[in-house]
Each structure stands twice: as structure tokens, then as C-alpha cells.
């Protein structure tokens, strides 16, 4: 395995591009970054963005459960309050809206943990550090 340590974002990106241009399969390149460099994704290939589906399904589930909760509760004990219809959609939509945001945010967070494989027991057990500099590791096949 070859390992490179880069001091700056520019040096890191240049090194990455050079590796890819030299024919290294991006699949074999592992990087660790001290801060987010979105350009690294373009060099190594972005891969599918599945996090948005967690946010989307969370949001839909929140909206559905907000409406279901309010409509079910008024139908299960139908009391007219203030002359309003039993199923009063405008205020119920408000609950649906709030739960859309709540479940959407929680869904996205759960999706993040799943996709980013966190919490990482391996990292915690091995005392693997979040690096101060950019680290590139290339799996060459023989030792990997």
C-alpha cells in the first residue's frame, strides 16, 4: 500500500488527479481529509446519493403520520369544538407540516449514520485518528 500525506487542499487534489490520470482505479484510493473538499468527489467519482431518499421518505412519513394522528383522534371521539368541522384540515395540515420537518430531519440523520457507517466501532477500538493533514492511501493489490 502506498501512502501520501499532503499539507494543503491544492497539493491533495493535484496528487489525487495525478493518481487517477496514471490509471489508478479510484476504487483503490482511500482518502482522509481534515475538512470537506467537495472537489475530491469529482476526481474520485461521486457515487449515488442515497441520503436524499431517507430525507424524502422521512418527510412523507411525517406528513402522513401528522394527518393520520389528527384525523384518527378526532374521528375516534368526535366532539365539535368552536363550531369547526370534525376534520378541520387547515390546523391538521400544520401538524402534518411540522412532523414532515421533524421526521425528514431525523430520517436524514439516521440515513447519514447508516451510509457513513457511524458510529464506527472499528475506529473507536483501533484509536484511529481524524487526521490533521490530507492522507491518501492507494491499495496496490499485493499487500492489500
Amino acid at each position: 500500500m502506498a501512502r501520501f500525506v499532503c499539507e494543503s487542499r491544492e497539493e491533495f487534489l493535484d496528487r489525487l488527479r495525478a493518481l487517477v490520470d496514471a490509471g489508478t482505479d479510484p476504487e483503490n484510493i482511500r482518502v482522509r481529509m481534515p475538512f470537506y473538499v467537495p472537489e475530491a468527489l469529482q476526481v474520485l467519482g461521486e457515487g449515488p446519493d442515497r441520503l436524499r431518499f431517507f430525507a424524502l421518505f422521512g418527510g412523507i412519513a411525517g406528513f402522513g403520520s401528522g394527518l393520520a394522528l389528527t384525523i384518527y383522534s378526532v374521528l375516534s371521539w368526535p366532539i365539535i369544538v368552536g363550531g369547526k368541522p370534525i376534520v378541520s384540515l387547515p390546523p391538521f395540515l400544520l401538524i402534518g407540516y411540522l412532523l414532515t420537518i421533524l421526521f425528514g430531519a431525523l430520517g436524514a440523520f439516521a440515513g447519514f449514520l447508516l451510509l457513513a457507517r457511524l458510529p464506527s466501532g472499528r475506529s473507536l477500538a483501533a484509536d484511529a485518528e481524524f487526521p490533521e493533514r490530507f492522507v491518501i492511501a492507494v491499495e496496490t493489490g499485493e499487500g492489500a
Binding site: E7, G47, I95, L99, L102, L115, P119, S120, L124, P131
Partner: protein
Amino acid sequence: MRSEEQDKLSAFQRLENDVLAAMRRPGPRYLAAVGLCALLVLMLFALWGGLVWRGMGLSGKNNPVGWAMLITNFVFWVGIAHSGTLISAVLFLFRARFRTSFNRSAEAMTIFALMVAGLFPLIHLGRVWVFYYLLPYPSERLIWPNFRSPLVWDVFAVTTYMIVSLVFFYVGMIPDLAIARRRLPGLRGKIYGLLSLGWEGTLRQWRHYGRLYLFLAAFATPLVASVHSIVSWDFAVSIVPGWHTTIFAPYFVAGAIFSGTAMVLILTIPMRRLLRLEPYITVDHFEAIAKILLFTSLIITYTYIVEHGLAFYGDNPFEHDQYLYRMLGDYRLLFAIMIVCNSLLPLTLFVRRLRRSLTWLFVLGILVNVGMWLERFVIIVTSLAHDYDPYAWGTYNFSLVEFGITVGSFGLFFLLFLLFARLLPVLAVTEIKEHS
């Protein structure tokens, strides 16, 4: 070129050192501040205990003014929370880079303000042990909350806001907690390691992190507008003169951002000095915050004019009377202070020298918060004190118990913030690195 890279790297190391140094050395002034705030918190809970034990007669609430200082505090503290989300989420979406100097403190402020705000409906309830009546749970009596009531919307809005803000705050901090893990020795390092979930900064982690942060900002942004709108509907949905007006939602939201921005100044100006963060929170950054304060002050002044204009342009004698009472009645002094603090003094920020004077910004932050607290008090109390029926009119004067609880709530807020400043990274280190 090489030396430029070295300079940048050493600047990054200095940044980490400075932020982590703030987490290491509690000086005597800090400990004294913590002690004072802890005493105020003790007073808050002792007085609340008194209210529970002896009853709500210890408060100054009466008939007709049944919502008073405690509800004023609730609205005030929820409002304070808003600016945190504006700075962290809305400015993130607008790519305003100066936010990185403030966003961590502002997010912490949001959470602590919501924690304090959440106490007040419970205190106001009196019989706090029945608070769960507001929650939707399948009871054996088949009773559900009335979802047509703004008070129930409030429960959902504030709870959602609290949870989403907490997730946003925590997610933003994960890489910085990993830095603390690397830099701090012993048990503290291990605890930060656990809190960072074993973050290593791999491409996979950063990629999903970047997306998540964007999604959370997008989810939190509508909350800036909706939560205080819902709080305003606690009033506007009623038919009380002075409350029943369509301008309340934007009026409350602007007020919330205005008071929250002032609180950011109150918190960060001393924090910057005490933790020696001058290189990272610059006067230019404060000037940007001052511009937000000035802008929201102008919106607030506009809404004052509109709400009074609506009352006098409309043909409702009760509205006329209510707004005259607000300006000239029993609470006219508070109304005048409110106008001076919220509409007139912030105009000084048109002068560049004052926008860049941290002393003036700190003083103005305090005055604006005094003004905004009084605004909520004036709105709530004058409308109830002087509604339709002259035989039902009355005035309110707060009791010492309510006053003590209010002071105690500030103690709780500042205590939580002081603990945050010592235990967690006060600056978004990786974001500052990313934008430098």
C-alpha cells in the same frame, strides 16, 4: 509556495490550539460567573417550587390578566432561539461565510433558549404534573388533545424546533469533536471520541456529511419562519383586540430574529475576549451581524407602524381604543422604552463607526433585548387588561416571585452557555478551515 502551505498548516494548528485552549483553562472569573449563574438557577427552582407548593396566588396574575410575565418570558426565549437558526441554517444556504465565526455559539444559544422557554408554559401551568395532557397519547379515557388549538400547535412546533436544532448542532460538531479526541489526552479524549462516533474524515463520511448538513439546513430554514408564527397565533387566533391581527406572524418572526441577533452580540463579544478568539471573530464579522440587527429593527419599526395604522384605518372602536391604551394608558412608559430601544437606538447603526464599536454593540444588544422583552409584555398585558368590557378591565403588576423566576431564567441560560464554552468547541473549526 511551500512556505505558503506551511503557513496555512500552522494557522490551522493555531486555530485548533486556540479553540481547545478555551476548553482547558477555567480561570477564576469564569468560575465566579458559573457560581453566580448557579445561584440564580437555584433561586429559579426554589421559587418555582414555592409556586407549586403554595399555588399560583404567589404570582401577580389576576382576572383579566391571566397571561402575564411567565408567558412573556416564554415568547421572549423562543424568540431568542430564532437567530441561532437564521445564522446557522439560513446563512449557510445563502453561503454567507462570516457565519462560521458565530454559528456554533448561535446554535448553542438556540438550544439553551428553547430549554429555558420550555420551562415557562410548565411554570405557568401551576399544576405542572398534568403537563402531559398536552401530549397526544392513547389514554384510557379516549381523550386526545384538541388539534384545532394553537396551544397544541405550539407544543408540536417548539418540540420539533428543539429536536431539529439539537440534531443540527450535534451534526455540525462531529468533526470538531474528533479533533478534540485527537488533541485532548486521557478520559476527556475518549469521551470526545465516543461523542464523535469514531469520525475519521473519510471520503464516504464527508460526502454524506455534506449532504446531511445541507438537508438539515433546508429543514431548519422554514422553522425560522414557522415556529414564531405559530407562537404568534397563540394570540392572533383569539378575538382579543390588539391580538387578533394578520400581521402578527411576520411581526413576531422579525422580532424574534431581532432579539436573537442582539443576544448573539451579548454572548459573543465577551466570549471572544475571554477565550481570546479575536483572530477568528473579527470586527468585520460583528459589523455583518450589526447590519442584520439594523435591518430587522427597520422591519420591526415598520410593523409597529402597520399595526397601529391598521387599527386606526379600520373601523373597529375596540381596536382604536386598545392601541390608544397601549400608547397612552397604564403601561405607556414601557411602550415608550420599547420604541426607544427597538426603533430609535438601532438607527445609530447607520453610522459605520458605531457598527464597528464592540462596546456600543454590546450595550445596544442589552438595550434591544430589554426593548424586545417589554414589547412582548406590552402586547400580552395591555390587550388583556383593556379588552371589550370596561367592567372587566384591570391592571397587572408582577410579583417578586415572577420577577425572581425571570431573573433565574437568565441565570439558567447563561449557565448553560458558560458550560458549553468550556466543554465543547465554540468555533466550527473544520468549517473555518474549509473556507480559509
